[in-house]
């Protein structure tokens, strides 16, 4: 405890000044004493004691009954003193927890870090922002030797720290799959069994897994109950929802996932996201997915990275800069 003694002579002079003049500046100084005392862990009892001593110094003839009343006051304040002490202890504990969480968040960033692929003929943009310190959204790029890229976008239901821990498990499970095992449907089926066996019943994961083949300009994908992404057709300037059927990971051990494939044409875009994007709300109003697409379109002349960052900034502003949910948006644009 770094408690320092309250300065009795200073207190006495101030008290004297106030009793004689009722001067505002003495009151202001009293407020400063109170703030400093809290900072230095000076107990309530000590302040009252200092007050009693100062009074006795100023009025050596202080009536005995007033002295008794001060002892009485001291007794009455004891519980408040204890409560204050408890509050200070809690505040310290809270600071410790906060710093531990930020260490965990940094560690999560390191564990889950991923490198955006640099693919000739395509432009890729990624933004992923957690609502709280730890991100329950997850995205990952796996660079295969044959030039194809595995792309994962996932959201753990059940927020905060447990969700974040769960994501690390998923990442390592995926990395342990043999490299020839890269079909989206197979990967989701294997992961589903991992999650079903290892995760709490109220927790589950939605995941969109795509295998992107830049050389053939195709993308094959499966979805485990994940928020559908969108495909932008440059030819007629329209968006199409990327529907894929499949149940979330971790609910039934027998789940099977259908695999779909499509070709990416010049100027087209593949848009992958989490529900933090489509569940944005402005006050009580939900933001419809048409609106999300309008915003994407309005920035579509930019590079993919500038595009996703501008879309994020747009919705951050709409929600008064307070995200309700983690926000992840990936856009793959094929060069014209």
């Amino acid at each position: 405890m770094d408690a320092i003694k309250l300065d009795l002579s200073h207190y006495r002079e101030l008290l004297k000044q106030y009793i004689n003049t009722q001067d505002e500046s003495a009151l202001y100084e009293a407020e400063q004493i109170s703030k400093r005392s809290i900072q230095h862990n000076i107990s309530l009892e000590e302040i009252i004691n200092t007050h009693i001593n100062a009074l006795e110094d100023i009025y050596p003839e202080l009536p005995e009954n007033i002295q008794h009343s001060m002892s009485f006051l001291l007794e009455v304040m004891i519980s408040y003193g204890l409560a204050l002490q408890e509050f200070q202890d809690l505040r310290e504990t809270q600071l410790e927890i906060k710093s531990e969480i930020s260490v965990a968040a940094r560690m999560q960033n390191t564990l889950l870090s991923t490198v955006k692929p640099d693919v000739e003929g395509f432009d890729i943009g990624v933004v992923s922002v957690p609502a709280n310190q730890m991100n329950g959204d997850y995205h990952h790029f796996i660079h295969h030797e044959d030039g194809t890229v595995g792309i994962t976008v996932a959201d753990v239901i059940g927020k905060g720290i447990p969700a974040a821990l769960c994501m690390s498990m998923i990442k390592y499970a995926m990395e342990s799959f043999p490299s020839e095992h890269k079909n989206p449907s197979e990967i989701l089926e294997s992961l589903n069994r991992v999650v079903e066996r290892n995760v709490d019943p109220s927790m589950f994961i939605t995941m969109f897994y795509a295998l992107f083949n830049p050389a053939a300009s195709t993308i094959s994908y499966s979805s485990a109950g994940h928020e559908p992404g969108f495909y932008y057709h440059a030819a007629d300037d329209t968006f199409e929802e990327i529907r894929a059927k499949g149940v979330v990971l971790g609910v039934t051990d027998m789940a099977q996932y259908r695999q779909y494939e499509r070709e990416i044409h010049a100027g087209d875009m593949v848009i992958l996201l989490t529900d933090g994007v489509t569940e944005c709300r402005q006050g009580d109003r939900f933001i419809e997915s048409e609106e999300v697409l309008e915003v994407i379109k309005s920035f579509s002349h930019l590079s993919a990275q500038e595009l996703v960052e501008n879309v994020y900034k747009h919705f951050e502003k709409l929600q008064d800069f307070h995200l309700r949910d983690d926000f992840t948006l990936i856009i793959i644009k094929k060069d014209v």
Binding site: K159, G246, V248, V251, D325
Partner: protein, 109 residues
């Protein structure tokens, strides 16, 4: 936002009437009530979501726990009268194929 949870015993089944929003703040209360009902051996539980205008993924987690509990306790869980937006969540997540969800949607918001 708030959620009111009202349970009525009706002709051998427990009917849970919900009104409000199901999110991270209100889900624990719903989970406690729902699991206390599905944990009764052989109980039939019907959850009416007509007055639920918002549900996030935490809410889905509650119903998934409920589903798992019915399998352990030989009880039944059915969700009825879902609004469009809530129904869509069950549809996207594929949970519609594993949880008994009434397909007649209420529409409107």
């Amino acid at each position: 936002m708030n959620l009111t949870v009202d349970v009525q015993e009706n002709e051998g089944k427990s009917v849970v009437l919900l009104a409000g929003e199901i999110d991270a703040y209100t889900a624990p209360k719903l989970k406690e009530t729902l699991l206390s009902l599905t944990e009764k051996e052989g109980n039939k539980v019907e959850v009416n979501l007509e007055q639920v205008n918002y549900m996030d993924s935490t809410g889905l987690g509650v119903f998934v726990s409920g589903l798992k509990s019915t399998k352990e306790n030989n009880s039944e869980l059915k969700l009825v009268q879902l609004q469009d937006r809530v129904y869509r969540l069950f549809e996207i997540t594929g949970l519609i194929d594993v949880i008994d969800v009434d397909k007649t949607v209420q529409g409107g918001y």
